[in-house]
Every structure is written in C-alpha cells, then in structure tokens.
C-alpha cells in the first residue's frame, strides 16, 4: 500500500484530566472506508474530534497524507483536506440550507467554485434543493443529515470523518443517508465512519475496528468481524 491517507499513532486525548482515548493506533488507506464500532461513551466521537483538531491530543501523532498535523487547530487541518461531519450534524441552525452549504466551501481555494459545487449538491440531493431557502433548524432529522453530507462535499477532501450518520433517524431516513454514503464510497472517497453497531455498515465497510474504553480491541475486514460470534453478540444491532 502506498502512503496511507490517515495515520494515527499512540493517540491520547480527552477532556480536562480524563483521558478518553488511551493510546490508539489507526491507519486508513486512500479510497478505504474504515468503520469504528463501539458503545456510547467509549471514545468514538472524542477520537474524531482529536483527529480533526477540535480538541488537542495530549500525546501521540496524527498524520494526514504523511504530513504531521498533530495539535494543529481544526481550521488549519480543515483546509488541508480533512472534512469532519460531526455528531448532531453541526449545521448553523439560523442560517439557510444554501448558506450552510456555502459555508462548506469557505476556504479561499474552494470559495471560487462554490456556485458550481452548490449546483452539483442540488442535483445530487433534490430534497436539499427543495429546502434551499429554509433555515436549517426547520428541517427534519433526515434532511439535516443530508445537508450536513452535502456541505461536506462542497470542497474537495482527502478524507471524510462521519460521526454516527444513523443517530436519531427514522429507518427510511437512515437508508437514504447510507445510500448517499455508498455513493461517496463508489466515487472513491476515503472515509472514517463511526457507528454504535453493525446494523447499517454491511455494504460499505472495508475494515472494521471495535473501540472500547479508548483503544481498539478488535480489527478486521467486515466479513470477518461480522461473523465473529463474540463480537456480534455484543454489537449485534440487527444484522
């Protein structure tokens, strides 16, 4: 394998005195979709926040395309091509859908082509286009998630971090969101995705890691982990 898109080595991170991530290693190759499975409160969201620079790791390294970005602020890492769709979407509630999408193209290099990208998003997600002039807070959960995904596509990225895309959605909406993610995978995107269980990731996961108490306790190709009785018993969801 050539240079991995993302390398995380010995990462420790947390809040105040408490380490939530305790020495975690992770590698994601270009074009790979890596899914982290784990129970709530075991550090999945914290891991993504530490990688994208929202919180500062206390130890370890994060390399993006071979470049050391450890401890850099999120706004700097973002312009290097890391896109993070945070838990709960992170939409700007009082801004319109169109404005939310435009913010996705904020960096100077992508701002120039924002109109073209916006048209592309509208074509890809007609539901989003229909809501363009509405404030984000008036949308349904499924619509919000599609806007968040659309916003993530407004600028070219090298890797996307997606935090629990199924969280709080009705089954129909989850299907729509995962269809969109499957399309991203098909287009060659590199993705790190976090979920609580195996339920939805069947079609898209290349590698799966199980995250417990801040470290990875099991790893393997999807097919292998999904057929391991011990793991499936814990993270069954509804396969």
């Amino acid at each position: 394998m050539s240079q991995p898109m993302l390398q995380v080595a010995g990462l420790r991170a947390g809040y105040a005195e408490a380490s939530v991530i305790r020495g975690l290693d992770l590698e994601v190759g270009a074009g790979e979709v890596v899914v982290l499975i784990g129970p709530n409160g075991h550090g999945k969201t914290t891991l993504l926040r530490a990688i994208s620079g929202i919180i500062r790791p206390t130890a370890g390294q994060v390399l993006l395309g071979g470049q050391d970005v450890t401890g850099r602020p999120a706004e700097r890492i973002a312009v290097l091509g890391l896109v993070h769709v945070p838990q709960g979407d992170g939409l700007f509630a009082e801004m319109t859908v169109a404005e939310n999408l435009l913010m996705g193209a904020f960096p100077a290099s992508s701002w120039r082509s924002r109109r073209k990208e916006l048209a592309g998003i509208y074509e890809r997600f007609p539901v989003v286009a229909a809501r363009a002039a509405q404030r984000a807070r008036t949308l349904s959960g499924g619509e919000r998630r599609l806007v968040a995904l659309g916003r993530a596509l407004m600028r070219p990225s090298r890797i996307m971090l997606i935090d629990e895309p199924s969280l709080g959605l009705a089954p129909v909406a989850i299907d729509t969101v995962y269809e969109a993610i499957a399309e991203l995978k098909a287009s060659g995107a590199t993705i790190v995705l976090v979920e609580e269980n195996f339920t939805h990731i069947g079609g898209i996961a290349d590698a799966v890691h199980v995250l417990e108490t801040g470290t990875i306790v099991a790893s393997g190709p999807y097919a292998e982990l999904a057929s391991d009785p011990a793991i499936v018993q814990t993270y069954l969801g509804s396969l």
Binding site: S52, A78, V83, F92, E94, F106
Partner: protein
C-alpha cells in the same frame, strides 16, 4: 395631539433611534459572536468624536474624510482591544467565567483609553463642527437640522450595510457561523483567530462613526463615551442580547418612547418615563424584545 406633535415625534424617533442603533449594534455583533459585553464600545464613540474634531476642526478637512478616518481608526483600535483584552483568554474560555472576566478586561481598556485621552488632549470639551450645518423646516415649525438628517441617513446606511455584509459575503457568513456553532465553523476552515479581531474592529468602527456625529451634537471630551455606552447596554438588553433585529427594534422603540414623552410631557419627564417602560418590559420579558432564553445568535 396636534399634527406638529406627531411629525415632531416621528422625526425625533428616527434621529434618536438611528444613533442608538448605530452605537448599540456593534455591541450586539460582539455579544452574538464572542459572548462578551464589550465595555470598550463607549471609548470608540469618544475616539470617533475626537477623530471628527481633529479632521473637521483642527485639519479643516471635509466630513467624508472625518467619517472614513473615524471608521479606520476605531476599526484598528477595536481589533487591538480584542487582541489585548479578549484573545489571551479565549483558550481558557470554558474554564473561567468568560463573560464576567472580559466584561472587566474590556472595561479596563475603556478606562485606559479615557485616561490616555485625558492626558493627551485635556479635560476640556471641544466643539466638533457639525458635519453639515443648517436645517430645514419640514412642517409648521418642526425644524430638522441637516446634521441630524445626515446622522440618521449614515446610521441607517451603515446598519443596512452591516446586514448585507453578514447576509451576503464570505466573511459576514463566517461571523454568523461562528456565532451559531463555533466548532462547526472551525471544521469549515474559518480562522477564528482572525475573525474575532475583525468582528470587534468592525463593531468598534460603527461606534466610531457614531462618535463623529455625537461629537457634533454634544462635544468631544474624554468621557464622551460614558453615556453612549450606558445607552448601548440598555438598548442591547432591551432588544434581547445577541439579536441584531432586536437591537434595531429596541433602538427605535426607545427613541419613540423618549420622543413621545418629550413632546407630550416635557424633557424633564422623558427619562423617568423611558426607564419606567424599560423596567416594565424587562419584568414581563426578561430576555428582551427578541431575546430567547438560549440567547439569540445573530
């Protein structure tokens, strides 16, 4: 009520409301974005009126230059104030009582500016030439000075300009994004380290421009910002902390109450009546006219 009273009230409301709005709107912009009550905003009015005095009276140049110079000078001063009194605390904002500490640190900057002005320029009140002199009799004895008209027009233009800047431009949208979800804005690549001084500079520049006009109505002197600061605080809280439309409504509502009281019962009673109404409204709506319990965010 006679027709002249109504015209008089309308004119006074527009004039007072516009200037209250211009002084207060920067404070709302800063509160909405940074979560601080910027006590240095009054000093920006003072600095603006001294810049107006310097350009109009000392240098004898034209009013457009005075307004532009006040805008630039207070923009820079406001950005510096942010870098000195707020930015060093940003990283610890969740570990400290950020609102209270910055309330004091920006107040400290205000005190320093007032005393520097006192030291450099002395305590005397300087007459600032009105931007435009003269006036027009608009309706049976209701006189409208051109200065007031210019003040209202410039204030409304600048408030509208701010609205368009926030609604349409890349950096204006970034300011709103930061106000609504800081982490998400950073994930979009918004450099908050630059954005915060820019926001405080912009807000201060609006107060600085207001200062040029207020200097013409009253005087330029080191404490010239004290009353505008208090008025701005009242306007932003009455309108609902952090709500830009709320601030504009509150500015004109306060202008209307004050103008009505002045015309109907006389100047002596206008302030007691105004504060009585504010007291009453805030007891009924503690978050202000358009405020929300969670604080409106731009």
């Amino acid at each position: 009520m006679a027709a002249t009273d109504i015209v008089g009230i309308a004119v006074t409301t527009i004039i007072l409301g516009s200037i209250y709005g211009l002084v207060a709107i920067g404070m709302t912009l800063i509160y909405g974005t940074l979560r601080i009550l910027d006590m240095s905003q009054g000093s920006m009015v003072m600095v603006g009126s001294f810049v107006g005095w310097g350009i109009l009276v000392v240098a004898g140049l034209n009013p457009v230059i005075a307004i532009a110079a006040a805008f630039v000078a207070t923009f820079i001063l406001g950005a510096l104030t942010q870098l000195v009194s707020v930015q060093p605390l940003m990283k610890r904002r969740n570990a400290i009582d950020f609102e209270m500490v910055t309330f004091i640190t920006t107040f400290a900057v205000a005190m320093i500016l007032t005393n520097v002005a006192l030291e450099l320029l002395g305590p005397q009140q300087r007459n600032v030439t009105p931007v435009i002199s003269g006036g027009v009799n608009i309706y049976h004895g209701v006189n409208l000075p051109y200065q007031s008209m210019a003040m209202a027009i410039v204030s409304i233009t600048m408030m509208a300009g701010l609205g368009i800047f926030l609604a349409r431009t890349r950096w204006g949208m970034a300011i709103r994004a930061v106000a609504q979800d800081l982490d998400a804005a950073r994930l979009m690549g918004v450099p908050v380290g630059k954005l915060y001084p820019l926001t405080m500079g912009l807000a201060s520049a609006l107060a600085g421009v207001a200062g040029v006009f207020l200097g013409g109505l009253y005087f330029a002197y080191p404490q010239a910002g004290d009353l505008p600061l208090l008025e701005a605080l009242i306007v932003v809280i009455f309108g609902g902390l952090g709500s830009l439309p709320g601030t504009v409504y509150a500015a004109y509502a306060i202008g209307l109450i004050q103008a009505t009281a002045e015309v109907l019962v006389g100047t002596t009673w206008s302030l007691p009546i105004l504060y009585g109404v504010i007291l009453f409204v805030l007891i009924i709506r503690p978050y202000g006219l358009l405020g929300k319990p969670s604080e409106a965010r731009l």
